[in-house]
Symmetry: C2
């Protein structure tokens, strides 16, 4: 027998033969578990929590019964309060049925910290889908209109605002005669854009749900919304499982180009992941996933193409054309998303090449096109997108910041998760460091054993700014030797490095910033600054009226540090505001408001994309910006 | 290993395990072969012809290699010119690969005779799909529009008649970037209704094909059309395999009601059959089935629902409402039809309950709504549909004629196929009969051994009219005893019968018309006449200006006989015209002309459906019409 194992929180689904251990199932399916003893039944780290209750999606037995019984050997490795069968070790537990487990320990700690706040904006709640409640007169010999005409006639009579022609999705039509009669002609009708009937249910199904998704290169954030009430019921997020195919979009595009089934594979992975996420959120909210009638997706252009199963290969080479830039509405069933049978998928428009629908989402959340002030809006994810403008004119560009600000390609870099250094202060004289670490309060120099595991983006910027201020690096970014401090030393690569935290201060290794890290930060900040510079020049402004930082990263960043290393154009720190995950907010707005969708389409057409690669000034701007601050 | 065996001309697909004989595969899948010896390797009747050449749809080997070698025993049962391996006996040949075979002998003889003529009408060729040839400028850094916008811009520039918004089918969008570049930006774009791009191909794919289908209760007729040239490339027809679930629509509706998966089963059967038919026609025309971009379907309301996988159950009970009556456009992929990936399926509108899209097709072919004269249009298939009217007013009704006119429920009845009596002349004095039989010329009294197998619809009407004229039956339909003639005798049921042909005159049994057959004809003709009568009364006319007979049946019928038994209202035989398969002609017209589709929709709305069941006069009309002539 073959079974399925769903690993949470990743949402990855593994196939497992009867009798295979969870560890074997995970490995065979490319899912990594924390196992220092390498499955040797000795470390007790590969703990998983068996999902409580019933796994309705597969079969009716409780999950706990779908694993081999616990052996005394396994019990020895568990704490006494963990021996009730809910906590198991993946190297021991053998599969005997479909099962969902939550991976504990390291992986659980690594769950991403996603900003959920971000001020919500004022806008009229007017979703693209609307539910109408009707009581039809049943058909008689004297009035034997066909079911669909009867439905339309009653719908239009009760709701004269529905003016134009109304169609019905074929999947809904198939069920129409039975639903009408089984519900005794009292029905709830869901209409998309006032034009297409996409659900007919008994009148008791009064909920109307939608899902807004910010599908990032690294993180997926999803918001289950009550479309009647116009509010978020539940938010959830998870790592994009495609990170095992590369941290940035270019490596994913390469994967699609280099492997015959590469696109199909990446597409399947993301669709399966979204389906798993939707299922888990619907279960948590106590609704059926089929009650979700619409989903709005925002993503960068590469993720857009991969999620829609469109070859992203041409995005990677000049002139970087996308397959489609306007908003796309498609049937969820056509792209494999499991929501309502006739559910709609709305993808916000793409601006151009690398400036994707996620940036459009940021714009409809921030609404620069309604403002007088000339703001620079910077969204730093795995790529950087920059917009400059106001209601008169909007310019945008993308910059290849690389993933340095996300902690990738940095020697001790990591994502913003528990155990990551997020703030750095270096005492100018002694060159000693005080650190702020996620999961611990205040500034400290010592941590509990092995607690600190690396440094995340905001910590890196802080570190570089502080190293500059303390004279550890010069304006060219070179680490200066300083025999007086044990923290400045030659690393294993023979290049200089600065030790932020020694292992015996509570790290799992010496946490350092090395010369290569500094170079990566220089390249990233130069790309960002030069991009902004090109836009300002094109716009004819010397200084923006303010800077808006979008993305979770912007919330954690120390503005003073960012200004100190010259990431942004000169602008008082008080003019820099962080707005959180604007892309997610924009996605929610588009889900809740057709007006916002209109704004999105208009903005995508209104904005002028500036291709920095074809700007003659760009190389010089970029080279200048490599210096600290510039 | 499991293989597939496609049996032609039925188009039925059977699953076969390795080593199974073709006979076993056929039986296991409910396909009947002619095998008097019951698979005993002795009669040599189960001959099949192996399809020549390559079965591209399955794999690359010639079909002949996918059967076990011929044994000496099998050779003995074949003629000497049949021993080259192309002709095999199903009871011997064992399956070793996917294969297509054509069943010979009896089954081949039984292929239906479908009328292909029928005068084609004048109308403007303007299909719903149109192909445009474009040469795009490739994208550059200066002009890096997304692929879809580029395509639309070039399309609209070259064809200003395409005014509104243009969408693209998602399946086409997925392939767009690759197609554009692989075809060096020279492409053929197929647009549906001037609104949606449903195919983008290299410019070399210049053909544009569509399929019109008249999906009858008994027979499926399909017309593969060249939409550029506006002509039929190929016609083909086959029995509707659903006849094994009952001859008439009511028995199929019952099957759906009585069996949990009944609808799914019947739906799958018809869709598979259409796919097989399309495949075989495309192969015969030398095109890929994916090059068919649109199909127009006409059918009665029950077949409409079953083909669209909609519960037909409510059609069978008062007030007989259909699920939808307006024209339906849907993606072929959504209903399982394998044509172009984004191909369109257009179903003509339904008039009401039992007056289906096939009758609308008859009307757009006959155009009574453009005429001054008050014509009665009668379409006799398994059900009878009647229309009466002109450009001022159109009435329609359906009559439960039952399948008597098709030879079903008649003791010696059969379909209009080789060996069927289609004409009868009875000498008034001697009561001897002269017969006209399909497959033989002229009027005869003797035939070669076992040649005559039964009597088809036109023969039945002739027989009854002649029996009436010769005094064998009275005006009440009772067969009169006549000891002088051996042809009038008591049948095995104790009731009287008239022998049309004795077995020793060349029949496979005595071919008779018995009292029960006469009653069936009386019921059928009374239903038809009473229906016409009700319409005439409602319209306020005493006599129509003429009668149009649609359907293959109308072509074969002897008008004088039909008038003699009172099938139609009184009207000179010269005013009765037969127009052949008007439903098929209407389907072709709708495929070739959007104007005809508009007419179809308008007609379906314009026509007034008269429900005879709720007419107080109907029972008396019906009872009166039971008499001969009335």
């Amino acid at each position: 027998m073959n079974y399925k194992v769903l690993f949470q929180p990743s949402g990855l689904l593994a196939a497992a033969e009867e009798g295979m251990t969870l560890m074997e199932a995970a490995r065979q399916n490319g899912i990594s578990l924390n196992a220092p003893c390498n499955g040797g039944h000795s470390c007790g780290k590969c703990r998983v929590k068996v999902r409580e209750g019933i796994t309705e999606q597969y079969d009716a037995g409780p999950d706990i019964a779908h694993l081999s019984p616990m052996t005394p050997e396994e019990k020895l490795l568990l704490d006494s309060d963990e021996q009730n069968g809910q906590i198991r070790l993946a190297c021991f537990a053998r599969v005997s049925g479909n099962i969902t487990v939550r991976v504990l320990d390291q992986n659980a700690d690594e769950e991403n910290i996603i900003l959920e706040s971000g001020k919500e904006k004022q806008f009229e709640i007017k979703p693209a889908v609307k539910k109408y409640f009707l009581r039809l007169k049943k058909s008689t010999l004297e009035d034997n209109r066909d079911d669909f005409s009867r439905l339309c006639d009653f719908l239009k009579e009760a709701h004269p605002e529905l003016k134009g022609e109304i169609n019905i999705d074929y999947q809904v039509l198939k069920t129409l005669p039975d639903i009408l009669r089984k519900s005794s002609w009292r029905i709830a009708v869901t209409v998309l854009y006032g034009q297409e009937i996409i659900a007919v249910e008994p009148v008791t199904e009064d909920g109307l749900y939608g899902m807004a998704v910010d599908l990032g290169t690294t993180t997926i954030a999803a918001y289950l919304c009550d479309l009647n009430a116009g509010r978020v019921l539940l938010s959830d997020s998870m790592l994009n499982p495609q990170i095992s195919y590369g941290d940035d979009v270019l490596s994913r595009i390469s994967y699609c180009l280099m492997n015959e089934d590469g696109l199909a594979e990446l597409n399947r992975l993301i669709i399966d992941t979204l389906n798993g996420l939707f299922q888990r959120m619907a279960e948590a909210a106590g609704i059926a996933v089929e009650n979700i009638t619409e989903t709005v997706l925002v993503f960068n252009t590469a993720m857009h193409h991969i999620a829609l199963n469109i070859n992203p290969g041409y995005l990677g080479v000049s002139p970087f054309p996308s397959a489609i830039s306007c908003a796309v509405d498609l049937k969820a069933r056509d792209c494999g998303l499991r929501i309502a049978p006739a559910g709609n998928v709305h993808c916000l428009p793409v601006e151009a090449g690398f400036v994707g629908a996620d940036n459009v989402a940021v714009l409809i959340a921030e609404e620069p096109y309604k403002q007088e002030k000339m703001r620079l809006i910077i969204d730093i994810g795995t790529n950087g997108e920059i917009c400059l403008g106001n209601k008169e004119r909007l310019l945008s560009t993308s910059c290849a910041t690389g993933p340095a600000f996300e902690g990738a390609q940095i020697k001790c870099g990591m994502r913003a998760a528990k155990g990551a250094i997020e703030g750095v202060f270096i005492e100018p004289g002694t060159l000693e460091a005080k650190l702020k670490v996620i999961g611990r309060t205040g500034w400290r120099q010592e941590f509990s054993r092995n607690f600190v595991q690396g440094i995340c983006g905001s910590g890196i910027i802080d570190a570089v700014a502080q190293m500059l201020k303390a004279g550890i690096i010069d304006s060219g970014g070179k680490i200066q030797s300083c025999p007086a401090s044990a923290r400045i030393r030659k690393g294993s690569d023979g290049k200089m490095e600065y030790v932020l935290l020694f292992q015996d201060q509570g790290a799992d290794k010496d946490i350092v910033i090395n010369q290569k890290d500094i170079r990566a930060v220089q390249l990233a900040k130069a790309a960002l600054y030069a991009g902004a510079r090109i836009l300002m020049k094109r716009m004819g402004v010397e200084k923006p009226d303010g800077i808006t930082l979008a993305g979770a990263f912007g919330n954690y960043i120390n503005k003073h540090s960012a200004l100190a290393i010259g990431m942004f154009p000169d602008c008082g720190a008080e003019s820099i505001v962080s707005v959180g995950n604007s892309a997610g907010i924009g996605a929610k707005m588009a889900l809740l408001s057709v007006e916002k969708r209109r704004e999105a389409q208009e903005t995508a057409e209104f904005i002028e994309f500036v291709e920095t690669a074809s700007e003659p000034d760009f190389p010089r701007c970029f080279a200048d910006a490599m210096y600290f601050p510039r």
